[in-house]
Symmetry: C2
Subunit: 345 residues, 2 copies
């Protein structure tokens, strides 16, 4: 199968996107892969598969590779001798800004390029943690209570310590701190506000169980990964997560009851249905006294959570063959015609 | 002031966008205007101001005009002799799909083109009536109770007749019906589902007062239009709305108390703040027993609701000088560098 991996982006998660792409190159060795890199200036480059290593990007060597432009139906490589379409479904693997905030989704939709990844509305609801909570409320999925702060009102935390402070719109634990008492609050807020002008404060739940579940729907059926109990530290900081993005080996299923598994899957479906079609997402849940809380939606999980799927390649193929169709309006000029007639013009 | 009016789009509201653009050409005669047309195939054309009449589009004459491409910072006209940037802030005047669903916003953001109009997240919350209700709930603004139907479950209306049936994602009353009793339900649902796969059902409130208020924020201050009590018919159908989009004369303020005016403005601010910055929007409210309900957000109102502003040109200038800045992440390669070092490479 042909697949074009689109990665990079002008985002704080630019580097982990590169790591994800390199990981998938290994994992999808039986696919016919193209690699398109979006640099921080929003220029697209076609990267030769043999050059898919971190230093190609960190040393700026990608700049010598062919630039691509957007055209109807595909990215295009133009040269003096004509132009070549980069065909194949795109896998949007740009983590964070650009990729997960709806920008790339809108561009691919506009140019009628088929892609795996969240659509614009799904992106908005997963990228901003405030809106994820609105989604949860509307769809009857529990989530942790929270307080929203905007840069002008640094104080008045209504939630009991310890608390967790997060920029409202970043993933990969960037700018996130656990604050045990008020003396550390200002520093945590400064770190978070460095990345966003809205910050979310939540109670830091100690001793909570954490479970990650990935999945997607294809042909109106849900396909789930195994459920993982992620490595337990207070939380993964950016460097650890970074390493996490290069995971490709398989992991063990969490030892949980069938009942809890069903609950996690049911919550996943409520979040996903009529919104995330076309995307393979990972939902990270907390479980407290048997109750399931959605912590976070990763609409483009690190290395696509490949390590959670028995048959990752097969799963991507299923999804690629079941992408949502955008109904594009057919433009007619009936009103203009009828008005012109009425005016006798 | 230079302003580029972007209009058209592959949308059911394509024609009314043309009408809006023609109306603004007259209204903004002291601006230095450019006109960019997006046709139904998503190709951009530079339209000579003297050709800004409906038949240029309905007869396909625009196809003879120069094509434009997207480039960093502006639309560009390329020719054998080089390329010319179409400079000036863009006014996104594409109503409905493309313009109001976040697509154009994402594209302009990606290419760092300054624009007046809703950003991606604001678009998602105003374009889909389901999400407008979530926004209302989260921000303490009252809205009419509703029921969501998806194409598979045509029946079981829990709301008492008469009801109003609307596609969840279209403006300008397209596909909207008032249903007085169950016998007319199927026809109304069929009409609505023709335009979207999700439909909203609301009680049809008879004898309700309707008020429209437009406004924007600039430099952290709110600027409001007069409040209009729109022409009272059961509701405006597409043809009447279409004529409505060409309004340019001024209208009278509704005769309402100072108290109600304050309530309407307060609801507007709650909806707008931290979401619609950069856009001039019109909120359509219902008032029932002195209580204010948000009916609809028009993030790109017909002809920009120019007829509601005493000094429309001055208002646009104020807004254009106060557009939100997108903080773009600076990409560093510190993790890749540190990992390469650790590996001794």
């Amino acid at each position: 199968m042909k697949l074009t991996i689109l990665f990079g982006g002008a985002s704080f998660e630019h580097e982990i996107s590169i790591v994800s792409a390199i990981t998938l190159k290994e994992k999808l060795s039986n696919f016919e892969l193209n690699f398109i890199f979006c640099d921080q200036d929003h220029t697209f480059y076609l990267i030769n598969a043999s050059k898919m290593r971190a230093t190609t990007f960190s040393r700026g060597e990608y700049k010598k590779m062919p630039k691509l432009t957007l055209s109807h139906g595909s990215f295009v490589q133009k040269s003096l001798f004509g132009s070549v379409d980069i065909s194949g479904t795109v896998l949007n693997l740009i983590h964070g800004g650009d990729g997960e905030d709806g920008t790339i989704a809108a561009i691919l939709d506009f140019f009628s390029i088929k892609y795996i990844g969240p659509r614009v509305d799904a992106s908005v609801f997963s990228y901003d943690k405030r809106y994820t909570k609105w989604l949860c409320h509307a769809r009857g999925v529990k989530c942790v209570e929270s307080q929203e702060l905007s840069s002008s009102e640094h104080s008045n935390i209504k939630i009991a310590y310890p608390i967790i402070v997060k920029p409202s719109r970043l993933g990969s634990s960037i700018g996130v701190s656990i604050v045990k008492d008020e003396s550390k609050l200002d520093y945590a807020l400064d770190s978070a506000f460095e990345f966003d002008n809205t910050v979310i404060v939540e109670p830091f739940l100690e001793g909570v169980k954490e479970y990650n579940l990935a999945g997607f729907s294809a042909g109106k059926k849900f396909y789930f990964s195994i459920i993982e109990e992620p490595q337990k530290e207070e939380f993964l900081d950016f460097e650890k997560k970074y390493m996490d993005f290069s995971r490709s080996g398989n992991v063990d299923s969490a030892e949980i009851s069938k009942e809890l598994e069903s609950k996690l899957r049911a919550s996943f479906e409520k979040v996903y249905k009529n919104l995330f079609e076309g995307a393979l997402i990972r939902c990270d849940f907390f479980v407290v006294n048997g109750e399931v809380f959605l912590n976070e939606i990763n609409p483009i999980p690190g290395s696509m959570a490949n390590y959670l799927f028995d048959d990752f390649g097969g799963s991507l193929k299923l999804l690629a063959n079941s992408l949502p169709h955008t109904k594009r309006a057919k433009v007619t000029y009936e009103y203009i015609h009828s008005i012109s007639k009425a005016k006798g013009k």
